[in-house]
Symmetry: C2
Subunit: 368 residues, 2 copies
Amino acid sequence: NRYIAVRHHVEGSPSVDDFEVKTEAVRWTPESGEVLVRNMYVSIDPYQLNRMKRQSASHHSVDVIVPGEVIFVVHRRPTDGEPAVIINAAAFCGCVCVQRIASYGAGEVVASACEEYKEGDVVAGMLAWEEYSVFRPASVLLMSKVDTSSGFPLSYQLGVLGTSGMTAYGGFYEVCKPQAGEKVFVSAASGSVGSLVGQFAKLAGCHVVGCAGTQAKVDMLKDKLGFDDAFNYKDEPDLKAALKRRFPDGIDIYFENVGGEMLEAALANMNTYGRVAVCGVIAEYTDPGRRAVPDLLEVIYKRITLRGFFAWDFIARFHEFTAIIGGWIEEGKVQVVEDVSDGLESVPSAFVALYRGENVGKKLVKLA
Amino acid sequence: NRYIAVRHHVEGSPSVDDFEVKTEAVRWTPESGEVLVRNMYVSIDPYQLNRMKRQSASHHSVDVIVPGEVIFVVHRRPTDGEPAVIINAAAFCGCVCVQRIASYGAGEVVASACEEYKEGDVVAGMLAWEEYSVFRPASVLLMSKVDTSSGFPLSYQLGVLGTSGMTAYGGFYEVCKPQAGEKVFVSAASGSVGSLVGQFAKLAGCHVVGCAGTQAKVDMLKDKLGFDDAFNYKDEPDLKAALKRRFPDGIDIYFENVGGEMLEAALANMNTYGRVAVCGVIAEYTDPGRRAVPDLLEVIYKRITLRGFFAWDFIARFHEFTAIIGGWIEEGKVQVVEDVSDGLESVPSAFVALYRGENVGKKLVKLA
């Protein structure tokens, strides 16, 4: 088994030198009770960087990747009556993550020591950046058998029908609670989540404006994904003014993927009772000096709600959400944008590219 | 009629020189349809400063005090089905606020040009920093006749049974949604709102810690108001560590009155699904350079909700809230802390004192 390891804690922007490909024997045995999967696709997501840092607020709730050891910090376990929410990614990853980067993925069962899974089954769920992963069915919360007759490419299971879809659907419908006619702003709108949120917002009857970092992405948002408007934030020296021009009646919902000045500008343009779904803050992941300094008077006087969330908050409704999204894809109402690299060796460069804004849509690596 | 006027926009910390006492003829006429009130108490509140600034996010939703003119910015009017929420303070103030500072107050009707109110009625509601105010009943949303047989001092109508009580009750029960056993942190805990929130939290079965700026206030929180613990933030060079010591199991609810570093420290100590009720940020009112720089990764990974609100959001339930609070006072479950200055001339110094942390509990000025 070849896998991607982090050489050391990653601080600031990641580089390919932070990673290396290592080799080990495949860990599965018939007595293990585990399922061995040959991974076919793994997902590349910005949030993974936080787990590679020496210190990060993410360490409260997900496992930390530490060269040579694993720290499990379980902050609060769900109690009865709470939705089945994952506090600790390691708990559902199911694999021991020493130097290994957990990742959503899809693959084929090549050996199974439990009844539920058979050789040849195609599965999608929490795996890792490696060629072969093992999981223990009882300790895995998100692992689905893929219906290969559905007609969807397998890669969709990682993005639009996987965590990206769950994040976008749950974040938009459950956190933002949109109403028809509301004005929605999406940052990093050409990314895996943003590209879906904008399309969901149109389906909800909202007016949607997105921002992205190249003209090609801006064109895609308007021409292919149906955004009402889009702009290149790099062309805008004054983000507040840029949003004011595009939202003369104010923003009701801001789907936050970026942080920093973008959040400040959005708050300044929000309407009373505005909602901010804090999904990600990619601009702050690599540089705490770029953190947003929000004007809390905006929050008070406009009674704005900011709410942090992540995909796992909606895990109990995963199949409900993905069934709806799947229907929309079949009806042609949702376009899927993917950006696929090839081979395990390309994982580090694919990951680094996320932070350079080089991906368009969901970033994946095809392994087999 | 003598009234307090602002000489010019106030930026930074207010000083008594920013204000002057002016005199005018009483404006009431029998044809006006208005009610003339001789004010007996007026309220002194930190938020009033925001309305005196040249620029402030508060100007989105409440009237701005501008020497020589009034700017009305109505951002979004409530629509059917929404609670009766005040967007523009001028709309319920009912008086034209040129150079005049709207304030909650209580007084006696001395002349009335409408059926509802009679000479001798005692009323409490939105008045102004002046000896005589007029209001037009149809355009006033918060004006109540006071039941003088209730046994409560009239001053209570401005604080615990007025906007401070409504803010504390609505902010704690509706925004924070406490559950018994949860850990609650209250900043500016000896102030008009904070002192009530802490007591309400104890009544809700929570563990409550407050902070304040003098040892005398800290002692009062613990000895008189029943806080489980309290500390003087001026004695703590490291607020994160100070909160960590007092909340070894983390904070579930933070009732925010301060902003700046206090919010950063609270977020770092919050638990998963923590809630922050953003009531006020007094540290930021006088110095935008002290704004909080929150770590949004805390917000995302711990799925924290921050929600801005103010008293008027709960106006439809004002009488419900104050009846409950009144019952608690009668049963001795809630202690009332007031800080009363005397005479219209003392209004500026009373207001300035708020920003020096010199008040203990609800700050009022007794006029007559």
